[in-house]
Symmetry: D2
């Protein structure tokens, strides 16, 4: 039975299969076969050899390779031997002129490309759901809060627009970092292509290009025994930033789901879902909590990925064990966060009743700025107006009264504002500035971006 939750609990099967060790072997075999194919095209090896290797690659099993690894203690050499055995006499043409990491790094690039495609797909769904739910709630005005304390009101769509921004920018950066990471190499033991150069008069840079073209990858600008690990570190820190953006959104939903606020509720399967094994009334925002918890792991991986860049000379092996852990973890945990948040957003219950109640209850707190501005418009100096409202707030606090009540009775205020004016100003739903327009603009930007990213192959 599995131990790590990315095996069975976090991430989709579709993504898991990409990082499955069996798939890794198959992709490595595919790179070997593609190399042979290109070498045959350049007449470096017989066409029949390339065919035999392609066939062997399609038949190779994980077990075949593990059997060889027991002997050689070297994963790629084990693969080469297993392929060679299957390819019969043509087996001698396997792995010609290359080093292990030509195969390992190129196949990792294939994995990352496929995995990245899935992340993009999932992110598109998340962004769509945020925009769609956000557009629905443009007419709802809710309390804003800063420092956990009531502040100016906002249209609820403004909050969704902020989330849209966070996901859109995260995805933009992800696409860019992914694109930069999809680099393979066929450059040999130290990156100079020396072995291949001796084997043939063809420029080995052409061979590298051709192999990677067939695999839909780009060559690294320069490689040593391996592709430099800066792009991977950049990809993982980008994933960590993405993950922290999702943490921000899920954390917000948790806070708005609080009993005492109750403005947004994570959905709950009432018929059967159990919130607590001992408190039967419980409806906990467990999905959002999971999104926040996983961010802790994904953030921490950025440290491993950064340390991982520092390799000695033309490479050392310290990256290998670290990457076996952090690459699949980063992708599968990010995917789990995205998918979970998508379902939370889609199922989110917008409690208009609670939103309205809260807005009414704390109206005066949400309007202190407005009254200060109103005084300014009547000719009071800004600093003076601030001090007047501050004084009124303190009086209200001390006496347990509402600010609005104190304000209505205040002799200094009444010099400037009539009862009617105060009444008109006391409606928080009209104090939202350009919130709706700003939100709308963001949704437009998100939709344009979605249209664009969907064409990403």
């Amino acid at each position: 039975m599995p131990v790590h939750p990315i095996e069975y609990r976090y991430g989709s099967n579709e993504l898991r299969e990409i990082f499955d060790i069996r798939n890794k072997i198959l992709l490595m075999a595919k790179v070997e076969a593609t190399l042979a194919e290109v070498q045959a095209e350049f007449n470096i090896i017989p066409k029949e050899a390339a065919d035999a290797i392609r066939k062997a690659a399609s038949e190779i099993s994980y077990e075949d390779v593990k059997e060889e690894e027991k002997i050689t203690k070297h994963e790629t050499m084990a693969l080469a031997r297993a392929l060679a055995k299957k390819a019969g006499p043509y087996g001698e043409y396997v792995h010609l002129g290359v080093t292990s990491n030509d195969i390992i790094d190129t196949s990792m690039a294939l994995q990352i490309k496929m995995a990245g495609g899935i992340i993009i797909r999932r992110s598109v769904e998340l962004l769509e759901s945020i925009v769609s739910r956000g557009e629905e709630v443009a007419d709802i005005v809710a309390l804003g809060r800063t420092h956990g304390v009531v502040a100016d009101p906002i249209p609820l769509s403004f909050k969704f627009a902020y989330w849209s921004y966070l996901v859109r920018k995260s995805l933009e950066r992800f696409v860019r970092s992914l694109d930069e990471s999809i680099m393979g190499k066929i450059s040999g033991a130290v990156g100079t292509m020396a072995a291949m150069s001796e084997l043939t008069d063809i420029d080995p840079q052409l061979i590298q290009q051709e192999v990677l073209d067939k695999l839909n990858l780009k060559p690294a600008d320069i490689s040593t025994q391996i592709v430099p690990r800066d792009a991977l570190a950049n990809l993982i820190t980008t994933i960590a930033t993405f993950s922290s953006a999702l943490d921000t959104i899920a954390n917000e939903i948790r806070n708005l789901h609080r009993t005492e606020i109750g403005e947004l509720e994570e959905f709950f399967e009432e018929e059967s879902q159990v919130g607590s094994s001992t408190m039967p009334h419980k409806r906990n925002p467990i999905r959002s909590e999971k999104v926040c918890g996983l961010a802790r792991i994904v953030r921490s991986l950025s440290i491993a990925a950064l340390e991982n860049m520092v390799l000695e000379h033309e490479r050392d092996l310290t990256n290998s064990s670290a990457e076996r852990c952090f690459v699949p973890e980063a992708f599968l945990l990010l995917e789990e966060q995205i998918m979970t948040l998508t379902s939370v957003i889609r199922g989110l219950r917008v409690r208009t009743d609670r939103i309205k109640d809260n807005l009414t209850k704390y109206a005066d707190l949400s309007l202190s700025e407005r009254f200060m501005i109103a005084l300014v418009k009547k000719g009071v100096g800004r600093q003076t107006a601030h001090e007047i409202i501050r004084r009124i707030s303190i009086e209200a606090y001390r006496s347990g009264k509402k600010i609005l009540d104190v304000l209505r009775e205040d002799s200094q205020v009444s010099k400037y504002l009539t009862r009617e004016e105060i009444e008109i100003l006391s409606d928080p739903s009209t104090y939202i500035g350009k919130g709706r327009e700003i939100a709308k603009k963001e949704f437009e930007r998100a939709k344009s971006f979605l249209a664009e990213v969907l064409t990403y192959e």
Copy 2:
């Protein structure tokens, strides 16, 4: 097929089974059964119910629980229902007066206790191997190096003694942090034991004590819905420090294994092991490299564990998903490091030929301090003597000569030191101060500690 290397590549099966999700279920069932047993002893539930629940706990399967979880979306509630079903009419006595985390945290403490025992056992083997190999090499004098540049010589045992110190202290801290972490709780929904208090007149603190006594655990000094996560954070950072100590040792072996130094060699299975798929001569220190690579992951987990302490109110759920990842990873990767380093130390080839060659070749660099001190003993002021030898070193560097050769010809030096004196001082093997004694003392400390830790149950 698995994705994460802790499933199949890193860590022992013995340790893996402890963190296996099936074992987790069995341990949770064991806690439920122990609770029932204690409740029966205190006449809160019938003796027959406790027996039925114990029997159900021994028969429960992972699949039973997963079936229920599909409905409830709640792991512990699913377990309770599965147990209840198996226990027939007595099923109603399952999970009485407790909350999920009474079961989850207590069973996690059981896992950590068992896993910690394995780590201690592995560490003992590592420390023994270091001490044993260290004692073997007390007579060998080798170059010391600081900043990667040759410095005073050392007895080779001194280096092993430093490693012994690192592992001994790491293990001391681990035992202490582990001990502090083995806390369970039976304190209910928010830690006040309210439900149990209503159920019975027995002091629920007694019930908690009794359940944990039977499980060989301690109660948390105070718990909310969960055991506070500070002790776990402390355990994980202790593991990260341990891991970095192993990184230090493995990194040293890699450096001494370098072609140009070659004083220590990681063992190599000559008959079959392949060092490189393209450079057939290669003998790479791959095991030590793995130890260093894994430290990157383990170090990073300390961040996740520290963030994990911050929970709201009487708990939120963000710790749950994070811990599912970092707890098994920390243990399994540390174990892999320890086991790998043990095999490296045991198989380490001490190349006395290379050590001697290097010592001879760079003798003059390793003795510059000695000559400065020799001048001091002859009455030259310390700062003056330092400047004399510094001057000679520069002359040697510029002319490409050996320092010793320049020194022998130096008119200022010859005022104080005779040719014979210089010759005697020129033997680096006699310039090791108290290195051997210090190393010996450390080995004695390590052996005393080992004798003591072996009695740790």
Copy 3:
């Protein structure tokens, strides 16, 4: 003007002066003078030389040393030269038989010892304030919350007891890790004491012991050119755990300070303090927010300290630049957190009115477990009782009624519980189990610990 906030904003002047570069120079000079004193006692150097060096050490200025460093590019050598100049003819006895890090590491241990003493003092004040405020509120019953959702009630003292636990354990660990870190060394270039061994027949281990005794430090069990950095890494991760404990407490205060909860309020200087430059009513929990913000930095330092352990051979210099940053930052930021939280706790306004209102308002949510248990006591099976209350909760949720109202009318419930029984059970203030006793016990433990730690010299 300064750049980094630890220069002027975070931490006390008292602590700042310890890490001040001028103090560092003075402490290094003190170590040199103590070394000379011991060497004079052992007749290695003239008594007059030791006196002259002691005098020079008392007169040395930061500027003297910086002048020399411009030439030598070596901090300790600059100090030795500056001391030597001041000591006149006896200057030649400065720094005899030692290496720079004998001075640097030993003086850093002095700094850490002094700084640690301040942290202990500050922590004692924090713990005292928590216990004292906690004991005051033992009679107040408040809502408990899990997942941000109302749960069983707790006595308010229980929350303070949890904080007491967090600070007490953090301080316990800090004292232990500090104690382990206060190690000096006088063991020379590679730790073998070779130079000193040649200078004199006295066992240099005695000299090391004597110097460190005079400085109230312990010798490292083994040192290379430097004291091993594992104890420092352990100290910094302990500080990071401490910092995260403070983050937990401050975060809780922020949540309880929320407008909609309002049970605890960070104090506010009404006469003059401004909460917002634009919203005059604002009373924000800015001190608690600062405590949480600083935890981000302190946590991150643990990574630097862990990486810092890995040094090559008998040392490399990579630790030096890193430690110059993370050591003072860790101490000063932790101190700022402790001092800030102490003032927050002392000034905390306990809003009994809001606590009571909330308890009444959400009583039914906080009692769902109690009613389940009440049914069990009347003979209903536990799982059945859970399902009954869950059903009632859903009905209440759907109809917008209070659970208690639905429960009173429920025909299934009324089979077991009378109106009177339901009324009695409906008082949340009697549903706090052993919360008060557990809190009291913790406060006793804290007071015992405080009595003990205050004797720590």
Copy 4:
């Protein structure tokens, strides 16, 4: 005296002044003045008020503001009051319609823009020095190494080209992340521009645009009370990746500087520099070690910056204290690394003698692949050829002979290769494949990029 090394030791004065708290105040005043100017242009406030505020802003001092902060406990409010006082009757127009973070975030964007410009300038110098030194050494062939063990040879320029790639890509990413971070905001208390909307009929989005245009900044796509912190987190992780790239290069120089390798030497001021206070011969790569040490701090800051993204509602204050630390640290420490590495690269001594010696000494190890390929070209199967050379390597290892010597005598090899052929193949300087071409291409890419980045305003 200062405590933190960024005050006096790391980073340039030029950069330090940007983050100086006095400069921060001046920039905040500048934003206030620019706001007033735009408001005057739009006839929201009198032209004279804008002039008075501009004048006040030019005269304000740090001390003025600190005086006010003692009263208000609010930094921006203190600035507004200090400005207002200086502006006399027009002081009432200061800070009109905005919130503190309109000023704080916008001035931080100004700081980051200026600081980023300096980093770009420094990076350009570093990249130029790498390219220039790399082009000089294109004719030198040196040993390649993987796993610390000798591998195929490389042209020395290839190593510099790898460094060029690392710095070029780091700078590319830095420019992009910087560009994305230079966002200001004039959007009020919660981002809706409500106050400004009430003050005037002008669209406040125009006012924001106009203010930021004058300051050469861009508006955030959407802002709450603050600019979202994702772009800052992305900038800091980009800096951490850059820092790790420099760590890689400096670490390589340290390894090649080792006594036993000695191929590259960090420069040393022979006349005066002291390598060790006790070992007078020492020439340590201390500058490169510093670069590596600082990377530990910079990497760790990425964690703080990632956690820093997660803010509640329309903002909380936890970002404030954290950013005060990590923003200046990240810039100043990165700058120190870049400047230090530039001086190291410029002063690097290429020891062609040692390079040649090593190449000769370990020629046979560096050519094992070549002989395998040679056999393949003669018709031996690849896997068979690998096994032949592996066998020969083992024989050589066991007998202590050179591989080339064993190979020359090997009966299996002599079936395929003549003595003459073996002799020709035995010259490592001809086995560098396309290394020179690849390096040249990279230098061209770097030069194009430099030409482009230099136009970056």
